[in-house]
Symmetry: C2
């Protein structure tokens, strides 16, 4: 096990009806801006619940943070926030609204341009922020990360910073999500776990078991939610799984990968494919290309998650990769670039971008532009 420091200060407020606690959770004497997406919270009752809890409060609203939040939009929010001397933000919506809000929090606290903050990788200061999270997927509600898109150049990069003060998660508000949103959310959470799990074996028995516990739970939950998206206990477990998949709890003392995410971000930036969906396409390809490097862990994964115990080691590894792709497909997602009309041209663009940026992603820092080409070709 590697040495590590763990600290996650976010207060998680979980369960039906908990949005009513908002006025108790927010500090008083703040100049509050509430940030929203495109308006789905007005259809699912969340906006009403927030307004009911904050009756009599003074705040401004910022609407229009889009999926894959754009720095161009967020700059506007930063300007409005500064003009109004906002010192606390509340994101009400999904992972994109909260990710965008994390950058707004950094932009308000700084004189730097918002895109420079993203390129700096870590926000040096942020005003405090919290969330009412309505979409189980990104884990943003209990971590310090965010991913921001620059529309102008079709770039999408992650940056890190502070954690939300608190996040309210009410599984009932997720009942109205579309089946595609749920499929992408499940794929996102599943892949977050794999990015932390599918690394050198034997680093920590416990972290392995906890990652496997999330994978098994997500696999178990998926068909039930598809059949009945208003099953409270299933939705609660899904929502909790999405949070625990990316809140540092399963990355103590172990190495991580994240190459699949970096490649996936390019597919979103260039083709607008939903984040979770890009992962369903790239992850099996990453496994296929890196199957020698990940051989032992793929064996463990195949046995503990899919009960694959027969055949040669190579056959079992192949089977584990196949089962992974099958799982993504079972969610209702395509897993091949060609199914999304993406071809060789895009692969070359991404490969060239990575080579130009001289990046090398993944646990072993070997996922260069050239290796990315192989991964994407294997996912054609």
């Amino acid at each position: 096990m590697k040495n590590f420091i763990f600290q996650n200060p976010t207060k998680l407020v979980f369960g039906k009806g908990e949005i009513a606690k908002l006025s108790e959770l927010l500090p008083h004497d703040i100049r509050l801006m509430i940030t929203f997406g495109g308006g789905s919270v007005k259809k699912n009752g969340v906006y009403e619940q927030v307004m009911a809890s904050l009756k009599g409060w003074d705040f401004i609203e910022f609407w229009g943070i889009e999926p894959n939040p754009r720095v161009e939009t967020l700059r506007k929010a930063i300007r409005i926030g500064k003009e109004n001397k906002v010192d606390y933000l509340l994101a009400v919506g999904g992972g994109s609204v909260l990710d965008g809000t994390k950058l707004i929090a950094a932009g308000i606290a700084s004189e730097e341009d918002a895109w420079d903050i993203v390129l700096g990788k870590v926000a040096r200061q942020q005003i405090p922020f919290a969330s009412v999270m309505t979409v189980p997927a990104t884990g943003s509600e209990m971590n310090g990360g965010a991913v921001i898109t620059r529309e102008e150049t079709r770039e999408k990069y992650p940056f890190g910073g502070n954690y939300p003060h608190f996040s309210i998660l009410d599984p009932e508000v997720a009942y109205t999500l579309s089946s595609h949103q749920i499929a992408c959310g499940l794929a996102d959470a599943y892949t977050h776990v794999l990015e932390q799990y599918m690394t050198t074996p034997g680093q920590s028995r416990i972290m392995d078991r906890w990652a496997e516990g999330l994978l098994l739970s997500i696999i178990e939950i998926a068909p039930g939610i598809k059949a009945n998206p208003k099953d409270y206990d299933l939705m609660a477990d899904y929502m909790l799984a999405a949070t625990l998949a990316l809140n540092d709890f399963i990355q103590m003392g172990i190495s991580q990968d994240w190459a699949t995410h970096q490649i996936g971000h390019e597919l979103t930036a260039l083709h607008g494919i939903t984040h979770g969906h890009t992962l369903a396409i790239v992850m099996p390809g990453t496994f296929r290309v890196l199957k020698k490097q990940k051989h032992d862990k793929l064996l463990q994964y195949g046995e503990r998650i899919f009960n694959i115990t027969n055949g040669t080691e190579e056959e079992r590894v192949d089977k584990a990769i196949e089962k992974t792709e099958d799982f993504y497909r079972s969610l209702g997602l395509t897993t091949r670039l060609s199914e999304e009309g993406v071809g060789i041209d895009t692969i070359e663009v991404i490969s060239q971008r990575f080579n130009e940026r001289q990046v090398a992603f993944g646990e072993n820092k070997n996922v260069t532009g050239d290796l990315t080409r192989e991964i994407l070709r294997s996912s054609l």
Copy 2:
């Protein structure tokens, strides 16, 4: 899943050599008192490491917090702390030193008598405290709980309060623990998990999986550590397991039990049996007496932890209980009261105490004095 609020602010600093970070982790401008146990930290090098990191710092030392820390001792520390206007405590030692320090932190911040604070169940205020944790067992390094003994009346009660600011855990310092300490620590961590896990089934798939992940890991670690207590990776996983077994991570949205702990505390208070050892004696008895109530979860536990899949349901439940007792014995602990010279008289005292206090412990609040008699008789 039940509604829940989760927040654990403790910074966990984990790994070899990390005690050297102490001077970076402690705030400056504090009036620091460092608390210790009986002196083992002078033998295992921990004291030297602490002094090396705090070279040039001004602090006072309080020595002599005993196993099962006594309010009589802690009152002295509170007096010294107040006299010296101490406003920050650092516990260096095992769970008892830190538990005691939690009460010192409350006592210094209050005018109440220390025992009244314990009887009040929750400390209303505490000065901040941190720890260098040297014994994997209680989880006190990352939770708000503590258990205090009143020697005068042979009583032992838990109370709750703030979490440590930070805790440093270096697995190497645990190399010098005795095999009995390790056995009791493993039993303690294992039972902490069971107290949260062995409740109504189906509350959360994920919490079940995470609890099972800890149980499987502890079972896997135990024989290896016995054979080689200086295996770093085993010791690191054991230390991490003990922390994660009782830091709220596996109790989100679920009910809990803790009857075994309450009964175990009485055995420690009356006979001085080490805490972890009392659990090894009581837990199988609790299972035997409550096996109807816990039937479905015992089946799940038997299958997922011990691979028990053959036989009638009742046979499988019995087998799971048997395997639990076998595990405690495999650690080198006795699991019967008679083996420790404890007989009917003590059982009657505990049963009467519980009846007088009109307590009813456990998930279903049905573990009264009378049911406790049954549990302890089944563990004779």
